[in-house]
Subunit: 414 residues, 2 copies
C-alpha cells in the first residue's frame, strides 16, 4: 500500500510558503505503517496537476493531495481532478448549507466566492470540514484512492484525523514498523556516528538507522520491520541498551518529548520554579519553554532585558559591571541570575547575554559570542560560547545550550 | 530553462524534518527568473534517486538536489549519482585536505566517517563548501545540469549564493518576471478577494494574482512577464494604486519587510521606545520583535509575567484586580501596561493575557480568549479576542494582533 503526497500551489514553487503539511502527513503515515514513497509539489495549473496524478497513480495506491481548494481564483485543484476523472462539476447543496450556517454563527458575510467552493466533481465523496469552508474529497478508481484536502494546515490535520486516517486504518492494515527514537543533545552528528560505529556496522537484519540533526541536538532513529512483533521489540530494546551504554548522559529522552518538555518534567520532579533572564535571545528561550502545555506549573516568567537600563533598573545589574566588563560577560550574566532570583520567588534562573548579530561585534567579542549562566541561591555556573555569524541561528543555539546547561544543573542536584 | 528540485532523505518522508530548503531555493530561482516546475522528495535509496533523476531530467534543464551527502551511512546520494551517470567514485585529495585544515583550525578530531565524504563521482566538478565538510557537486550531460548540495540549510544557501546562482545567472538569462507583493493585516482571504473582485476579474494580459494567507495576514502577489520592462512596471504600478484605493489601511507594506519590521520603522519615525508585558504568549511577541536586526534601537525589553506573583510583584498588578476580574481581563491588561511603563522608561507598552490552552478554559472564558492592550501614559486601548482551540495558533494570533493594534495606535498618533 504505497502512498504519495501531492501538494499543489505556485506559492510552494516560488517559495512564499514552506510545505509543513507533508512532514506532518509523513509522520502520521509512518506511525500507521503506510510507506510514503514520495512527495511532489506542483504548480496550480490544470495540466501540471493532471500529470502529477497520472504519475503518482502509477506508483502508489493512495494519493493524499493538499492545496488549491480556496475561494480565490488561483485555486484550481477541483477542476483538474474532475478533468483527470473525466467527470463534470455539480453544485453541492449540503456544503452550501454548511457554509451558510457556519458563517451565520460567526457573523461573517457569505460572499459570491464561497459559492464557487460548493462546486464538486460528481464522483467525489465529500468529507465535511468543520473548521473551514472547503470540504475534503475522497475519490476511488480501480481500487486506488485519491484524497483532496485544503492546504490550510489545521483544516488538513482535522480532516486527516477525523476522516481520512480512520478510513485508511480500517481498510488496510500495513505491515507493522517499529521505531525507536533516541534524543541526544550537545554532540555533533559525526561525533555520534563515530562513537556508535560498531553498532551501526553490525545492525541486525531489517533494521535501519537514521540521524536527524538539529540545532545542538541529534535524534537517532532505529526502524525495524518484517519480523514478529516480539522479536522486533526485543531487537530494539537491545539496540537501545547498547546505545545508552555508549552515549550516556548525552541522551535526554526517547520518542516524542522535546528537550524543553523533558526539562519541565525534571523541574516538576525536583519541585523547582524557574525564571529566565534573557538578552540576545529576546524572549525566544521563554517562548520555547512556554510552548509546552502546563509549563505554568514550573515556569514563573522571563525578564527580557534588551536595553542596558532594563538590566540595571529591573534586574539590578550594577552599572559598574556593565561599564567594566560589558553586557556580554560572565559578571553580567551572573548578576542577571541574582537579580532574577531576588525579584521573584524562583528557585533557579537562567541568564543569557550575547551578540546575535549581524552588527555589534568587536575583535574581542565577535558576533556569535554568548555568555550563558544557570544558578540558584548557592551556586552559579557560567559558560562562554562562540556560535555562528547568523542572527537567528545564534538565538536558537543560545536557547538550546541554555536548556542543556539547565538540564546538567538539575541532574547535578540529585 | 526549466528547473526541478529533488530533495533526498527518508527523514523528509517520515516527517521528522520539514523541507525548508525548497522554499528558499524557490524564492531565489523566482527572483532570477528561472521557472521552478516541481519539487520532488524521495527516499535515500539508490533506485529512488536514480528514478527521480531520470524523471526530472525529462522535464527540466537544471536539477538542484539537496541531501544525502553527510558522513553517516544513510547518506547515499553520491553513489546514486555515480550510478546514474555510469561513472566510478574517486578519492578527492583537495577535499580531504580542506577538511583536515578546517578541523585543525576548530580543534575537531578527524574521523574515519569524514574520509568517506572525500569520495566523489569522477565526472563531478567540486564546489568547495566553506561551512561544512560535504562539498557541492556540479555535473553536466547533454547540455543539462545537475547540482548536488548538502541538506544542511546554511551550507546549501552558502553554496547557492557563492557558486551555483552566479554560474546560473552568467550562463542563462531567463525572461524577466516582475512581482509586486502587497502585505495586508487584519482581513481574511475571502474578504479581500471579494473587495478586489473587479481588479481580479479584469487582470491585464500576462498578469497572475496569488493570495498568500498567514496568521491574520494575507500577502497579495501580482506577477507579470512577457512584455517590455517599462510596460510591465507601469501595469504593476497601476494595479498597486487600484489595490491601495480599495484596501487602504489594511495594507501595511510592500515586498519583503515583515509586519514587525514595518512597526519598527514606525517606532523609529515617532521616536518611541517600546516595552511588552506578556502572559499567554510567553515571550513569543518579544521574540518576533527582536528577530529584526537593530530592534534594540526601539525595543527596551519584555516582562513575561507567566505566574500570578510575577504580575503582582514585578508589574504591580493589584491582587484585588486579579481576584475580582481574573488574569484574563480588561482590567488586568490595563494594569500590566501601567506597570510596564512605570518600571521602565518606555513610551508605549503592549500587554497580552489570555488562555492559550489546551487547559484552563471556563464556560465564561473558553480556551482562545485573549485580552490585548496597547497604551502610553495618556491612553490605553484594550480589546478582547476569541481565537482558536489550538495553543500554538493562539500564541501566534495573539502576537500578530498585538502588533496590528500597536500599528493602529502609532498611526493614530500622527
Amino acid at each position: 500500500m504505497n502512498v504519495s503526497i501531492i501538494t499543489v500551489g505556485d506559492e510552494l514553487l516560488i517559495g512564499q510558503v514552506v510545505d509543513t503539511n507533508s512532514a506532518w502527513m509523513g509522520q502520521k503515515l509512518n506511525e500507521l505503517g503506510f510507506p510514503l514513497i514520495e512527495i511532489l509539489s506542483v504548480s496550480d495549473q490544470n495540466e501540471a496537476i493532471i500529470e502529477a496524478l497520472n504519475r503518482e497513480f502509477e506508483k502508489s495506491d493512495i494519493i493524499l493531495m493538499t492545496g488549491g481548494l480556496g475561494p480565490t481564483k488561483d485555486d484550481v485543484t477541483k477542476k483538474a481532478i474532475a478533468d483527470f476523472f473525466k467527470v463534470d462539476m455539480v453544485f453541492h447543496e449540503e456544503t452550501y448549507e454548511r457554509i451558510l450556517k457556519m458563517f451565520g454563527r460567526r457573523n461573517i458575510p457569505f460572499l459570491e466566492s464561497h459559492k464557487h467552493q460548493c462546486n464538486m466533481p460528481t464522483n467525489a465523496k465529500i468529507l465535511n470540514n468543520d473548521l473551514g469552508t472547503a470540504p475534503g474529497m475522497w475519490f476511488e478508481l480501480d481500487g486506488k484512492i485519491l484524497v483532496s484536502m485544503p492546504g490550510v494546515p489545521f483544516e488538513m490535520k482535522h480532516l486527516m484525523e477525523t476522516r481520512v486516517m480512520p478510513e485508511m486504518k480500517q481498510r488496510y492494515q500495513g505491515p507493522p514498523i517499529l521505531h525507536l527514537t533516541i534524543r541526544t543533545c550537545g554532540l555533533g552528528e559525526s561525533m555520534i556516528a563515530d562513537k556508535i560505529k560498531e553498532i551501526e556496522d553490525n545492525l541486525p537484519e531489517g533494521v535501519k538507522l537514521a540521524y536527524l540533526p538539529d540545532i545542538a541536538q541529534v535524534r537517532l532513529r532505529y526502524s525495524i520491520s518484517g519480523k514478529p512483533q516480539q522479536e522486533m521489540e526485543s531487537i530494539l530494546q537491545d539496540l537501545k541498551q547498547r546505545t545508552v551504554n555508549i552515549l550516556g548522559e548525552a541522551i535526554y529522552g526517547y520518542g516524542e518529548p522535546e528537550l524543553e518538555e523533558v526539562i519541565g518534567q525534571l523541574l516538576i520532579h525536583h519541585n523547582k520554579k524557574l525564571i529566565t533572564c534573557e538578552s540576545c535571545t529576546g524572549g525566544y528561550l521563554s517562548h520555547r519553554i512556554t510552548a509546552i502545555p502546563g509549563s505554568s506549573v514550573y515556569f514563573l516568567g522571563s525578564f527580557v532585558s534588551y536595553a542596558y537600563d532594563f538590566k540595571t533598573d529591573v534586574l539590578n545589574v550594577r552599572k559598574e559591571t556593565l561599564e567594566t566588563y560589558g553586557a556580554v560577560s560572565e559578571e553580567t550574566v551572573k548578576e542577571m541570575i541574582q537579580g532574577g532570583l531576588s525579584k521573584t520567588g524562583a528557585d533557579i534562573a537562567i541568564s543569557i547575554s550575547g551578540i546575535a548579530g549581524p552588527d555589534g561585534g568587536t575583535p574581542d567579542k565577535p558576533v556569535g559570542t554568548v555568555w550563558i549562566a544557570v544558578g540558584n541561591q548557592h551556586k552559579i555556573v557560567a559558560k562562554k560560547y562562540l556560535f555562528t555569524k547568523d542572527r537567528m541561528r545564534n538565538i536558537q543555539y543560545s536557547a538550546t545550550y541554555a536548556l542543556i546547561m539547565l538540564r546538567e544543573f538539575l541532574m547535578d542536584q540529585k
